[in-house]
Each structure stands twice: as C-alpha cells, then as structure tokens.
Amino acid sequence: MARLVAWLVLFGSAAVFPLFSGNYPVKLLQEILIWGIFAMSLDLLMGYAGMVSFGHSAFFGVGGYVAALALTHSPGTLSALLLPALAAGLAALIIGVFSIRVSGVYFIMLTLAFSQMFYAVTFQAAWLGAEDGIVGVPRAPVLGIDLAQPMRFHLYLLGLVALAALLLRRVVRSPFGHVLRGIHENEGRMQAVGYAVNRYKLLAFVIAGTVAGVAGALYTQLVGSITPDAFLWTTSGEALLMVIIGGTGTLGGSMLGAAAFILLQTLVSSYTERWMLILGLTFILLVLFAPGGIVGALRGRVGLRA
C-alpha cells in the first residue's frame, strides 16, 4: 500500500513537472523515463529469468531506427510505436533462437556480438545515414493526438512508460513469470519436471526485446534522431548498471536506477571532466555497501516488503 502511494505520488509529480520547470530538467526527466523502461525490460531477463544479456542495445537500436525510418516516410501511430515494437520483437526472436542455446558467459558474449553487428552495419549503411544516423525525425500525431505540443508529448511518454511498467509487472506475476523464477533458481529441475525451458526463455527474450524496442522508438521521438551509438555496448552496459543500482528482480528499482544514473551523470559531468571516474567509484561503493541496490536498501531501512 505504501509503495502504491509512493509510485502514484511519483507519477503525479512527473506528470505536472513541466508546469513548474524549464525545458532542460523536463528533457532530463523524459530521458530517465525512457531509460527506465529500457532497464526494466532488461530486468525481466536478468532479475527474473536469470539471463544476463550484454546485447540489449540491439532492440533499443532497432526500435529507434525503425521509428526514425518509418516516421520520416509516413508519420502516424503505426510508425511511432507498432512497427518499432514488432521489428524489435522479431530481432529478439531471431537473436534469441541462437543465443538461448547457451548460457552464462557464452550467452553474454553472443548477445554482445549480435548487438555489435547491428552497430557495424548501421555505421556503414549509407541509407541509414551511416555514422551520422537519421536526423530530423518529426514528432508525428499518435492516435490523432498532435504531439508537437510539448506537454502533450510529455503525457504521451509518461502514459506509455506507465503502460510498459504495468505490463512487465503483470508478466512477472503471471504463471509465466513464475516459471521464469523457477528457471532462474534451478533450470535443470525445471526440465526434470517437464518444462521446455528454452521456449520460456525465448518468450521472455522476445517480450524484453519488444519493450526495449518501444523505449528506443520513444527515444527517437524525444531527441528527433538516432545514431549507431544506440547499438553500442555502452548502451547495454548502462542499462545493466541501472538495473543493478536499482536492485535486480524488482522492476521498479530499474526506474530508480535509471534516475540515479542519469542524475549523477549529469550532475557530476557539470563539475568535472573526470565524471567517469567519480561515477565509477560511486558504483563500486554502491555495489559493496548496498548489494540489493536502491530497492534493497529501502526495504532494509523502511521495512518495506516485496
């Protein structure tokens, strides 16, 4: 109950935030929301299915690029959301079929390799703008709502973020989510009692990829462009850090982790050139002294429970 109230207050504050704030903080908040969804989709894999992927950027990038291409050619709901989601889901299906055969470090390496392939291809492809990417992507009307108006775009973004978060929450609590936890805990025993473990993992991979694709599409709409950097391993790595900072296997933690990461990055980089160093030290301390992440620390202090 206390958690529900806390989330509602956060959501409400985020909704009215643009009324009281300048452009830059609003953009920062929107970035946090999008990264939060991206990190949450990764948490479905890491925290629930126990699949640590280092190539989640592939789906963020595919969503972002498909949105950019589609919106440039024919603006609308289909281009802004549906096509990117479908494309990212399809990419996850294909990459998943190959990657899920292996686990642990090999899974990490394979997913990383696939995402880097996307980077290499987009970096070279002239029709995708090569290293400059696709720029000048318009904010198209979605469901007949004109998103050129900033407050409308903000609410559109917030609405989708809430929808994605609720969807993922529903998934982890479903019978399917329960199976994922079983796989995480003891894959061999799940097989022994009759679960086709790889099919469940593949489905989780596709769901996570699809949601990551939506995050990528939203990102393109936020900044109006997409570059090959979206596919870079750092994109996957930052999402991974957000999940860990927030607390793996908590979903909500990923959103808090995204906020902590982006705020810290912004804050520290405005003071010093060596922000990476400060950031790195902070994360080391966090992992050492709050291994359960922000959510773990909150639960310990305030006595909140799962």
Partner: protein, 251 residues
C-alpha cells in the same frame, strides 16, 4: 522373472559408456504397472546412470527404453517428464528461494499450456494449486506451505524433493536414495510416507537402507559393475550368495 502383462517400463540391452568406462552394460529391466521395485548395488554400480538414461538426462550408447508402449530413449528430459516419468534426486535439487507451495504448484503446472499465460494471475489457474495442496498433504508439508525451501530442515527438504517429483502426476516415479543422509527417525517417517503413496504410481527406487527396501519393494534388482547381477523378491535376493559377496567386497 516375468509377471503377467506388459511392463510399464522396459529397457533392453541398455548400455552407456563414458570414454573407456562402461557405466552400464546391457541392462534389461522390466517393471510392471503398480509394481514397487528397488534397485540396489554398491556405489558405482550404475544405478543413478540408469535413472539418467531413463529420464533423458543422458543418451544411451546402445539399447532401447520403452515406456508405456513407446520408445523414449534419446528424448529430452522435459518430454520424458511429460510422458509420465518423474524423478527425485539423490542430492536435494530444489528452488532455494521459492516456498513449498510455489515448488509444488510449479511442478503441478508443468504439463499444462497455462504456464505460457503471460498476463493472467496464478490464482486464475486453480488446478495446479489444488494439486499442490494435495501433494503437500501426501508428503507431510501441509503446515509448511509458505516456508522458503532454504529454511526447511534437511528432512523436510527431502520430503519436498519427493513432493516436487510427485506433483507432476507421474505414472512412474523414480526415487534416487530418498533416505540419503537421514536420521533413523527421519528414515522411518519417509518410509511411512512412501508406503502411503497411491498404488497407481509405479515406483522404481534406489536405496541403500535394507529395512526400507524390505518394507517397500515388491521385487529387487541388484546392479553390479553396470550389469544386472540378480533379480527377485527381497528374500530371494537376500539369500543369493553373490549379493553377499558384492556387498562385502571382493571374494
């Protein structure tokens, strides 16, 4: 050696080697429906290897396995489990952070399509929950449903180990040393529990405790160096001088 009727489980010339090591060599085993069969033999006789072959964890090097009239050798473990063979493990093999109820519910839900439901809730899938509670009753854990597996006592973990295997609703239940590491009281409790299982579930049980074997098994098969040494009722096997030799070391 044969009882009337078609066997539920039949292996013919089942062989498995690991490199030069012959773990199992031409084992032919017939288990009738409703039978309770014990599998005994010294360490390294190939008992667990036989379980691994039957359940699909290992592929046989040669030989056939027929279950319920269908060949199953080489099928992956989850398919074998779906056909109605379930097993417990010698070393407790649970989901440490899941509760007793979650264990049994997961195992009971493994056969249905409902587990692919990504948006429903667990309570909307009532049958596995009902089954889980029944099994909890059968393995004496009905008052521990909300407890995490890692918080259970060793004896309780062993009971849950069997509960998980039982919850899938198997026709054939393979138990790998269910009383391993148990105190005499825990062993007694476990034996009573196993005796109380419905007769429809055919049992194949690896066990070292001869009291457990004598009170539970209709027939006993003795494995030695990967081969069947002898087979019969407990008393027949007990009188066989070769069995003595095998257990007391080299003659």
């Amino acid at each position: 050696m044969t009882v009337a009727g078609t066997p539920l489980l039949a292996t013919e010339g089942l062989t498995r080697h690991f490199g030069a090591l012959m773990a199992l060599n031409g084992v032919s085993l017939h288990v009738e429906p409703r039978e309770r069969r014990a599998l005994i033999g010294p360490n390294g006789a190939g008992k667990t290897t036989l379980f691994n072959l039957i359940t699909g964890s290992l592929a046989p090097s040669a030989g056939r396995i027929v279950f319920d009239g269908h060949p199953i050798a080489g099928l992956p473990p989850h398919v074998v489990a779906r056909r109605g063979i379930s097993r417990s493990f010698q070393r407790t093999n649970l989901f440490p952070e899941l509760t007793v109820l979650e264990h049994l519910r997961l195992a009971a839900a493994s056969g249905g399509r409902g587990s692919y439901n990504i948006l429903g809730t667990i309570s909307r899938l009532p049958r596995p929950l009902v089954r889980a509670r029944e099994v909890a009753e059968a393995v004496d854990l009905a008052d521990r449903l909300g407890e995490q597996a890692s918080h259970l006592s060793y004896g309780e973990q062993r009971q849950l180990e069997i509960g998980v295997a039982l919850a899938t609703g198997p026709k054939l239940l393979l138990l790998d040393e269910p009383t391993a590491g148990m105190s005499p009281e825990e062993t007694q409790r476990m034996t009573r529990m196993l005796e109380g299982l419905p007769r429809e579930i055919t049992l194949l049980i690896i066990e070292h405790d001869m009291d457990v074997v004598s009170s539970l098994a209709d027939r006993v098969t003795v494995l030695h160096y990967g081969e069947v040494l002898t087979e019969g009722t407990f008393d027949e096997v007990k009188r066989d001088p070769r069995v003595y030799e095998v257990y007391l070391g080299s003659a």
